[in-house]
């Protein structure tokens, strides 16, 4: 009981909460009773009695009454004050007492309800808390893991840094080494070259000395022994060494050099003229190519281009004339004109390319356009031809074989057989090719057919849908609920129609109804609402309850049910009782809905 004492003031302090709590309290009296009985049956029966007996005895009734009235006043129930039926008597004025009792009971019930709500809330909260804790712990784990990872990465990074540092130091040492070695090499090279020079000088000195010694010794052996001197190979006598001779040598040398250069120049000139010729020819051909094509390709600008080409031709002629002068100006002009022509040719070729591609595209499109009949006809014709050819070949073969059998010996026969097999192979190959082509055609046709079939299927489906919608309309017009449906809220109907559309199409209307009913009884909040449509339709109408609010409330309850695992049958009972109970609070609810 002490619990209740403490609970009450909090309830009173929450004045604003009252309305909502009222709207929430949907307990049936029966359940209240149950609850009460449960309370009374459990421990209360003993302890409360003993307490009550201790509180009020025959002797202290007035004190008790005054006390209770005080208490009631303090609870804010002063209007219905409990008074003794007769001052100082043991009797009690029943009406206010009962009223007070009733109010107390109401308060108690309200408290119970809020308690229940709170408990629910609490459970939910605890659940969410648990979840939160779980996710928290999970996140913590993750955090820890990532921290660990991070530290690991840090470690590897540090190691890598260390490695880099060591490698850098290694590199540095290597570089130093390289530098050192290079300097060593350089010093060695200089040393070597120095030594080499020194040795060479020594050797030269030695050689000098040696030759000097040999000359001084007047080597007797050093001699030439010729029977008689020979004449010069050219038959001339030798000349005195004079400045004139040396000058002539110089002359000779320069002459030979000059002749060489002249020859080289001649060769270059020849090459040059050849190249010029080629260039001229190229140019001429380019002009030739460009000029007749331009009118056809450019069309509108034909005249201009003609003029251009004329001008160029003139320029070409002039350049040709100037070529012989072989001056820089002419060369420049020539190269310029060639360059121009080349540019033109390039653009022309590009244009041609484009045209070719266009033509090809057109051709392709034409190919696609070729009607099927013509194609078939052609195919038929070709088949006929093939057949004819086959026959022809066959007869030829037969004739040849006959000839063979009669006239030739085995060897030639074998040879010819080989020929035949080869021929046969060729023929078979051709046939195979033909068959391939046919196969391809068939496949194309098949594809067309399948596409058509798909289209047909789609159309059929659309038709069926139309049919179904029509049937549905028909059925809806026929059913006895039509008037009710029309007056009941449109939302519910639309929802119903949407939900049960597929089933509508599949089965008859009656069966559908039954199905929806059975479906509703199984579970899920929304179907239960729909299930209650036919059975409690009248009730709805009389109560004018908004289906949305009820459904939302129900769904709320449903979730609670799931968590508390109460059987579906029980919930159905509850829902019914709730609806009945709603009768009492209908006024309040209406007000809610109105506001």
């Amino acid at each position: 009981m002490g619990e209740w004492w403490t609970a009450v003031p909090t309830e009173t302090s929450m004045g604003s909460y009252e309305i909502s709590s009222i709207s929430h309290v949907t307990m049936s009296p029966s359940r209240q009773n149950n609850l009460m009985s449960m309370y009374s049956s459990a421990g209360l029966s003993k302890s409360s009695y003993s307490v009550i007996s201790a509180f009020c005895t025959e002797d202290n009734i007035p004190q008790c009454i005054s006390y209770i009235s005080q208490e009631l006043a303090s609870l804010g129930l002063s209007s219905t004050c409990i008074k003794a039926s007769s001052p100082g008597g043991a009797g009690l004025d029943t009406v206010p007492a009962l009223n007070a009792m009733y109010e107390l009971l109401q308060i108690h019930r309200r408290n119970m309800c809020t308690l229940e709500e709170l408990e629910k809330e609490q459970l939910k909260k605890s659940n969410t808390l648990e979840q939160m804790q779980m996710s928290n712990s999970r996140l913590k784990d993750q955090l820890e893991l990532s921290i660990r990872e991070k530290s690991g990465l840090h470690e590897t990074e540090r190691q890598l840094h260390l490695k880099i540092k060591t490698l850098q130091s290694c590199l540095k040492t290597e570089k130093d080494e390289v530098q050192k070695l290079q300097s060593i090499i350089a010093s060695r090279a200089s040393q070597y070259s120095h030594d080499a020079k020194r040795k060479e000088r020594e050797a030269a000195k030695l050689k000098e000395r040696l030759s000097q010694l040999l000359v001084e010794r007047r080597d007797k052996k050093l001699a030439i022994d010729v029977l008689n001197s020979l004449g010069r190979s050219d038959g001339k006598r030798s000349h005195w060494k004079t400045t004139k001779v040396t000058a002539s040598h110089e002359d000779e040398m320069y002459k030979s050099l000059l002749s060489d250069y002249e020859e080289r120049q001649r060769a270059l000139m020849l090459e040059n003229t050849e190249l010029k010729k080629v260039l001229q020819q190229m140019k001429k051909e380019m002009i030739h190519i460009l000029s007749p094509c331009q009118p056809s390709t450019r069309g509108a600008t034909a005249e201009d281009s003609q003029a251009d080409s004329d001008g160029e031709e003139k320029a070409g002629d002039s350049s040709r004339e100037m070529l012989d002068q072989s001056c820089e100006h002419a060369r420049e002009q020539l190269t310029n004109s060639i360059r121009q022509q080349w540019r033109k040719l390039r653009s022309h070729v590009e244009k041609l390319d484009n045209q070719a591609s266009q033509v090809q595209n057109e051709m392709e499109s034409n190919n696609e356009v070729i009607p099927k009949e013509i194609h078939e006809d052609e195919m038929e014709k070709m088949r006929c031809e093939v057949q004819q050819c086959k026959e022809f070949i066959h007869t030829q073969q037969l004739l040849l074989q006959q000839q063979l059998n009669t006239s030739f010996d085995d060897e030639t026969a074998a040879l010819l057989n080989d020929c035949y097999t080869l021929e046969e192979k060729e023929r078979l190959k051709e046939e195979w090719k033909l068959f391939e082509e046919q196969k391809r055609n068939f496949e194309r046709e098949r594809k067309n057919f399948t596409e058509a079939a798909i289209r047909l299927g789609r159309e059929k489906k659309a038709f069926e849908e139309d049919c179904a919608s029509w049937l549905k309309n028909q059925f809806l017009n026929m059913t006895p609920f039509t008037d009710r449906r029309s007056c009941s809220s449109s939302d519910g109907q639309s929802a119903l129609s949407i939900r049960s559309e597929p089933e509508m199409r599949m089965s008859s209307t009656k069966a559908q109804l039954a199905k929806s009913l059975t479906y509703a009884t199984v579970s899920t909040p929304k179907p239960t609402q729909s299930a209650s449509v036919p059975s409690t339709a009248e009730l709805y109408r009389t109560l004018r309850l908004m289906p949305d609010s009820s459904s939302s409330r129900h769904s709320h309850r449903g979730r609670w049910q799931e968590s508390s695992t109460i059987e579906g049958g029980d919930t159905r009972v509850k829902s019914k009782t709730r609806v009945r109970c709603g009768n009492i609070f209908s006024l309040g609810e209406d007000e809610n809905s109105l506001t």
Binding site: S211, L222, D225, L227, R232, S233, S238, E252
Partner: protein, 449 residues
């Protein structure tokens, strides 16, 4: 194709006279002159010692025989067998002896390259050229025989002297921009002198006849450089083979590189034909192992070989050179243009069994000949685009744009072709073994067909 019988020779000294009429061979200390067409001995000269060098004069009238060990040179006349000439270099020694282009002077290089002595056979006069440089190719005469270029070394600097061969007048003397000059070569038209540095530095310099520097070319730095240099007969191209296994072709107008020929280990070039020599041992049946066959002997061990065209890509055997040894066996060491300048044959030293033939018109690889053994020598026919090569076995190999053949030399006693040289007419080929030689006559009629 006909082969002569074998003749004796020593030191591989065997040369056809410039007019193509005579064949001179040295056998120990004897010099034998034969008629090329009949192979009959025309003259026989006896020298004072074993001949170490022999050379025809340009007019085919005289032959020089040098005995380096004794410091002696003997000259013989074909027209006057009694005429004789002996040049004694004395105690100063002799390392090289050669004719001047006029055939009347002999240039002797003394030991230690102290000097070059020019002996005149006309006047008995002697002149000295000091400070010749000891290098790969220190002297070169121009094709027309007018000028001689000589590399010199003075005061640790390289110089080139150009002499007029007529009277040994010093025409030009100039310093070259080389660290250590390795060689020089006149262009066939005699107007440009190509000078290249030693292998330590890739540097090719081109000088005009009057000593002007025309151009300098360097493909790369810090690596072993030029290994061989050759002019095309038309003087149009200068081919430079180097240690990086590439050949670079310079043109004669701008002296810039116009092409580069790589020698890859894997041939993927679809334009090239790869001929691979395939040896096929003659199957010896039990019946053939009779005494008769064994006595014949040599043919039993000879293998037949033929060329097969390999489908691409082809992997070529590569020998990795020893990096610790000097003059590593890597890089293009041999370059040869065909007489019409149409083809270039090259050999890369770390692919010793392969000869590469490049088309100089299309500037790409024309053919690759992969032999079973290392190629010893190859030479172009002086008249036709035809390449002859030998690999120190009993076969002669010929390539022409039409195809490739391997010919067994039909001689006994294991004659192995060590080197070969064409007759000036391109009708015959001299095959040199270790101690023998053999003439191979091309069937000119068939060729014409």
């Amino acid at each position: 194709m006909n082969f002569s019988e074998l003749f004796k020779q020593s030191n591989q000294l065997c040369k056809v006279s410039p007019d193509g009429k005579y064949l001179a061979t040295c056998v120990q200390y004897r010099l034998v002159i034969r008629d090329v067409s009949t192979l009959q001995i025309l003259q026989l000269y006896t020298c004072l010692d074993q001949i170490t060098h022999m050379e025809w004069a340009s007019d085919s009238l005289f032959i020089l025989c040098a005995m380096y060990k004794r410091g002696l040179v003997q000259v013989w006349s074909l027209e006057q067998p009694d005429w004789h000439c002996k040049i004694d270099e004395g105690s100063i020694g002799l390392v090289s002896s050669r004719w001047s282009p006029d055939g009347r002077h002999i240039l002797n290089t003394t030991e230690f390259h102290l000097r070059i002595t020019v002996w005149s056979l006309c006047t008995k006069a002697v002149s000295y050229i000091k400070y010749p440089k000891a290098c790969q190719k220190g002297t070169d005469f121009s094709r027309d025989g007018c000028y001689m270029a000589l590399a010199e070394r003075r005061d640790c600097k390289d110089y080139v002297s150009v002499f007029v061969c007529d009277d040994w007048h010093l025409l030009r003397h100039f310093e070259t921009e080389t660290q250590d000059l390795a060689g020089l070569e006149w262009s066939p038209n005699g107007c440009v002198l190509a000078v290249w540095d030693s292998c330590l530095e890739y540097k090719v310099l081109l000088y005009s006849l009057d000593g002007r520097l025309l151009s300098t070319y360097s493909a790369y730095e810090w690596s072993l450089g030029v290994k061989s240099v050759t002019w095309s007969p038309s003087s149009q191209f200068l081919a430079i083979g180097s240690y990086d296994e590439k050949v670079r072709i310079l043109n004669h107008i701008t002296w810039k590189k116009i092409a580069q020929f790589d020698h890859p280990a894997t041939i993927n070039n679809a334009k090239a034909v790869v001929y691979k020599e395939v040896e096929r041992r003659t199957a010896v049946g039990s019946d053939d192992l009779s005494l008769h066959n064994i006595t014949i002997g040599t043919t039993l061990f000879n293998t037949q070989s033929k060329y097969e065209i390999c489908p691409l890509p082809v992997q070529i055997p590569v020998v990795k050179p020893d990096p610790d040894r000097a003059n590593p066996k890597i890089g293009v060491s041999t370059l040869a243009f065909s007489s019409d300048s149409r083809y270039l044959a090259t050999k890369n030293d770390n692919m010793a069994s392969v000869v590469w033939i490049w088309d100089m018109q299309k500037m790409n690889l024309e053919a690759v000949l992969e032999q079973t053994s290392a190629v010893r020598c190859f030479q172009w026919d002086p008249r036709r685009p035809r390449l002859a090569l030998c690999t120190a076995n009993t076969k002669l190999y010929l390539w022409s744009p039409a195809g490739c053949v391997s010919v067994q030399v039909p001689t006994e006693g294991g004659f192995q072709v060590q080197s070969l040289s064409w007759h000036g007419s391109g009708d015959s080929l001299i095959l040199l073994g270790k101690e023998q030689l053999c003439l191979c006559f091309m069937d000119t009629d068939q060729e014409d067909k």
